[in-house]
């Protein structure tokens, strides 16, 4: 469903963050992207949600060339995507319920259906009792679960998570990984998760792509090596 074809990314200041990235991710997969800080993991994610455009090659999601999207086509693209960040990025002046409801309002879902779906995902992430709390009243783990609930509310085909456990203690990190695994199974959502925490990867084994200095240096399928050029 997602393909990187010879993708390179050079930032405006001349810094080259990605070189010749080739990658294929199939519907329903759970993929880790790991690598040291500055290796280009976030850049990879930003190319997927159209925050950045590749300077060479193409990123294609279900026949859509993401890099070629015009500014006003981007909202539509993002509506088909779920995104989770290390710093949660919840709207501070909205309750948990409203934050999730917002994502559904954006795609113009009918009111009663939307409310039902919000309760459903709150149940799924185990936050049903925090629906009316504001983000600032929640712990980090709870905020991240709210952010995940928002990301999956509109049933995206692809969920990308950039270091979702980066700010959480090991116990909470485990919970979040469990949750993502559950979403991958129950909602059949394709998931790409960035982390530089190898413990997480060991604890819940899945396909793992390793980045170093902008190159993919390994692509491991649940313990075994997959072909790679570098």
């Amino acid at each position: 469903m997602l393909e990187f074809n010879d993708v390179g990314k050079q930032y405006k200041n001349g810094f080259n963050a990605l070189y010749n990235v080739n990658l294929k991710i199939k519907q329903g997969e759970f993929v880790y992207v790991i690598g040291p800080t500055g290796s280009g993991k976030s850049t990879l994610m930003k190319l997927i949600n159209a925050e950045e455009t590749p300077t060479s090659g193409r990123v294609i999601l279900d026949d859509v060339d993401i890099g070629a999207l015009k500014s006003r086509q981007i909202p539509k693209h993002r509506q088909s995507l779920g995104v989770v960040f290390q710093d949660y990025r919840l709207l501070p002046a909205k309750t948990v319920f409203e934050n999730i409801y917002f994502a559904l309002e954006v795609i113009n879902i009918e009111k009663t259906k939307a409310r039902k779906r919000v309760r459903e995902v709150l149940e799924l992430v185990g936050l049903a009792d925090k629906a009316n709390s504001y983000p600032s009243q929640l712990s980090g783990g709870q905020q991240q679960r709210a952010a995940i609930a928002r990301a999956i509310a509109n049933q995206p085909k692809l969920l990308i998570a950039d270091e979702p456990t980066g700010n959480l203690d090991p116990q909470m990190s485990k919970e979040i990984i469990h949750l993502l695994g559950k979403i991958n199974k129950e909602e059949e959502t394709t998931i790409i998760m960035v982390t530089h925490d190898e413990k997480v990867v060991d604890f819940y084994k899945k396909r793992t792509i390793i980045l170093e200095d902008g190159h993919i240096v390994a692509d491991l399928v649940e313990g075994g090596y997959r072909s790679h050029d570098h």
Partner: protein
């Protein structure tokens, strides 16, 4: 469509309520600017009225030669009426001229009553009003050359100087008014900009979740309108109470009976409406400008 509008209104109102402190600081920027605008509007409108009163009280007085017959008077009048810069021409026969004279001298006017009737030494005359103070001198010169006109009087250079300064007062108030309007928009945009800057994260998050610019922008515009409305309340109340109080205290006149203040109705309701509209429009523009600028840099 209705759900969309309902969402925009709801989000706009929530935005104001949930960012109370920011809304309040933006509103007070509006309040301060509108107070200044209000004071200035009251001053300038009243100054204009006084200037107009002075201008229209200055007339050219053209005496008609003795022995000019009706036909001739009529043709002279027509000639004057057709001159550029002439607003109106009134014929005043020598009896009314004398009456005006007697009245102008007030208590001592009785002394001149002996001239009433055949002994009246005055002349028939035209009272000429010009469209502006500037054209007085020109019109007077031309009228003086017309046949059957004996003498033309308009108060001389003193009047001309007065007229000049009146005109500059008028343009002056206009310029200050324009500058003030610009200042208002600048000040308010600046304040709203600061508050929206603090919320640029929100705009960014909304974009990431897939909201289009229009979807994001409208609630902010409503927010700006509400903030403008709230900000205009105090200026409106103070203006209404203040002007009515001042008007009643001065009995409707400034210094002398000649300088009337602008009457309360319809001036005060109009002023209140203008302040409200200004608050709302400026709040809306401020919001629109700063959100649009923010979104412009957000991919």
């Amino acid at each position: 469509m209705i759900t969309k509008i309902a969402r925009i209104l709801r989000e706009g109102i929530y935005g104001v309520i949930r960012h109370r402190a920011m809304s309040l600081s933006s509103s007070s920027a509006v309040t301060m600017t509108l107070m200044i605008v209000s004071v200035f509007l009251i001053l300038s409108v009243n100054i204009r009225l006084i200037v107009d009163t002075i201008e229209s009280s200055v007339q050219i007085h053209a005496k008609i030669e003795v022995g000019t017959n009706f036909e001739q008077i009529r043709s002279v009048r027509e000639e004057i009426e057709n001159l550029p810069g002439v607003k109106s021409v009134t014929f005043s026969d020598k009896d009314s001229e004398l009456n005006a004279f007697i009245e102008a001298y007030g208590d001592q006017g009785d002394l001149f009553k002996m001239y009433v009737g055949d002994k009246n030494p005055l002349r028939d005359a035209f009272l000429i009003e010009t469209t502006s103070g500037e054209s007085i001198e020109n019109v007077a010169t031309i009228v003086a050359k017309i046949d059957h006109i004996e003498k033309v009087n308009y108060g001389g250079t003193g009047t001309l100087l007065l007229m000049d300064s009146m005109e500059s007062i008028k343009t002056g108030t206009l310029i200050v008014m324009g500058a003030l309007g610009l200042l208002a928009i600048l000040l308010i945009t600046n304040t709203i900009d600061t508050t929206i800057n603090a919320r640029s994260d929100e705009l960014f998050i909304m974009r990431t979740v897939g909201a289009s610019n229009g979807f994001i922008r409208w609630p902010f515009i409503i927010e700006g309108m509400i903030i403008g409305m709230i900000g205009s309340l105090i200026p409106i109340i103070l203006t209404v109470i203040g002007y009515i109080y001042l008007y009643n205290m001065l009995d409707g006149y400034l210094f002398t009976r000649i300088f009337a203040l602008v009457p309360i109705v319809p001036f005060v309701p109009l002023l209140a409406a203008i302040l409200l509209l200004l608050g709302v429009v400026v709040g809306m523009l401020g919001s629109f400008i700063s959100v649009t600028r923010k979104l412009w840099w957000t991919r």
